[in-house]
Symmetry: C2
């Protein structure tokens, strides 16, 4: 369908080297080189700046590279859509999400889909929020579960969940009966912290949390969510999370969630984002529907087993 030069410039840009791009493309470097030279001649502007040890895109090149990648990605989606016409839902859905959603909401949704559609693939992006923001701005994820940010204009929020950040603890903890808490009230008790606390909050919220966090008695610091859960369950300390990651434990009374009063933290909601242009793709629709269901279930869980009576 598409001219080879699209793949060529994509790879060349990725490696910053014509020869290495040619290598991964299983093709002679001269062929790749010539395609680029021809394209530059056709456009009338250099697309890559020749530096000693390779090439680097010019501003014009950036445009062309983006166009090439957009085109190839759109072609991939087109193929997927065509294949879906004959009932074969396959292809890959890219999902960006916060860790909380990876614990319960996302796995349940994926599980319910995986059974019915064995050919459906998912790519879940677990990364730093700054990269999330970058991905969202670039429009790469098809679906995302993130703290609500209206600046992602290419995405529509199709569901949301009031998920105040709060304190997770055992029901027999001294603070478990409170209806709300401040960070300073927690400072007299041992707490556990995700080793990458910025994973949980938007950049504006990080600062306050980290600032207050510095005064906290952090008895455990880990990047393992599993260990974290075990530690909190065994009474090792408090945890700071939205209730979303602990729906099951809260419902069964195993753990308790008490919201924090700090306004900036409490104001955060989790949203289900769908890329506007791809919302009609069958595979995306399936996932969105499954996630919506989980959002509804989570909301009802939070209502029935409120953060504290």
């Amino acid at each position: 369908m598409h001219a080879v030069v699209l793949r060529y410039i994509d790879q060349v840009a990725r490696f910053g080297s014509i020869r290495r791009a040619a290598e991964t493309l299983n093709i002679a470097s001269s062929a790749v080189n010539r395609q680029i030279l021809k394209l530059e001649a056709a456009i009338g502007t250099p697309l890559f700046e020749r530096v000693g040890n390779g090439v680097r895109p010019t501003p014009a090149g950036e445009y062309v590279i983006r166009h090439a990648r957009d085109t190839l990605a759109d072609w991939q989606r087109t193929r997927t859509n065509i294949s879906a016409l004959s009932g074969n839902i396959h292809g890959e859905v890219r999902v960006g999400t916060i860790p909380s959603a990876m614990i319960s909401i996302l796995p349940k949704a994926l599980d319910s889909l995986a059974q019915a559609h064995p050919n459906l693939k998912f790519r879940v992006l677990d990364m730093a929020p700054s990269d999330h923001a970058e991905e969202m701005r670039a429009g790469r994820p098809d679906v995302a579960v993130l703290f609500i940010d209206r600046r992602y204009r290419d995405y529509e929020i199709v569901a949301q969940l009031g998920a105040k950040v709060g304190v997770i603890m055992r029901p027999d903890h001294p603070l478990a009966k409170r209806s709300q808490l401040t960070l300073t009230e927690c400072s007299s008790y041992p707490v556990t912290m995700l080793d990458d606390p910025w994973l949980l909050f938007e950049s504006t919220l990080q600062n306050e949390f980290i600032r207050s966090g510095a005064e906290l008695n952090t008895v455990l610091r880990t990047n393992s969510m599993t260990l974290m859960k075990q530690a909190i369950s065994s009474g090792m300390g408090l945890g700071f999370f939205t209730p979303v990651g602990f729906l099951d434990e809260i419902r069964t009374g195993q753990l308790v969630h008490v919201p924090l009063t700090e306004h900036d933290l409490a104001a955060t909601d989790i949203g289900l984002f769908v890329h506007r242009g791809r919302a009609r793709s069958p595979s995306v629709q399936l996932l969105v529907r499954a996630l919506s269901d989980e959002f509804v279930r989570a909301a009802s869980d939070l209502r029935n087993a409120p953060t504290k009576a």
Copy 2:
């Protein structure tokens, strides 16, 4: 840059005939035919259904055709953006608009741009509102001035203007001193009507207006806005419009605008729509900025010379 087959299938779909497409492409029909056959073989699905007197796209074909057109259009925009890097703002901006905006807002904005950027081209689409909706849904216009409709999710509303539909008349008309009017109050006086009244209103509003309009004493019915203006100015009858098309006349006191009380009609606002994905294109930005300025100016005009004291 792009494989010829993109242009081929575009034209074939446009004409519903391989031979005629080949003709307009100045190429042998066999070449076009073969490209399509090859593509179908590569995808594994027929893209066109062969009917006796030509071809018709299959559902899979519709997807591919749309992809091809999107790709070519995006490539065009990419070329434009690259050219803009060297300070040469050119290219074509597609604008969809209601007639009212064509009278004052749009011409002024275009005029101010045409002087500074002689290479900038505009394509203004004047058509039935159903086609407008279709165009907007297909995401073809880059910029649009339309009655606000939140369903156009690919577009962002960057400016709006409270523009209640009302009655336009000479200041010495018996109704000119009123602060508001109903359609029935107008029925005792001669009125003028645009021959295509649906051009002015969203489909949901059309019905009421036309229904009431049937009882009006329509002394003049024309599709010429110029004649319309002359007729109202010479006292031939009332006109039903937003004030937007009559800003100059209202400001100078030549004409008067009295809003209608009918709720559905009065609730309409005019919005400046920009396609989300193309808002950053220099040419689009220029036009949006110029139109925004005109929106502001129009809003101030409406405030200073209110529809009636």
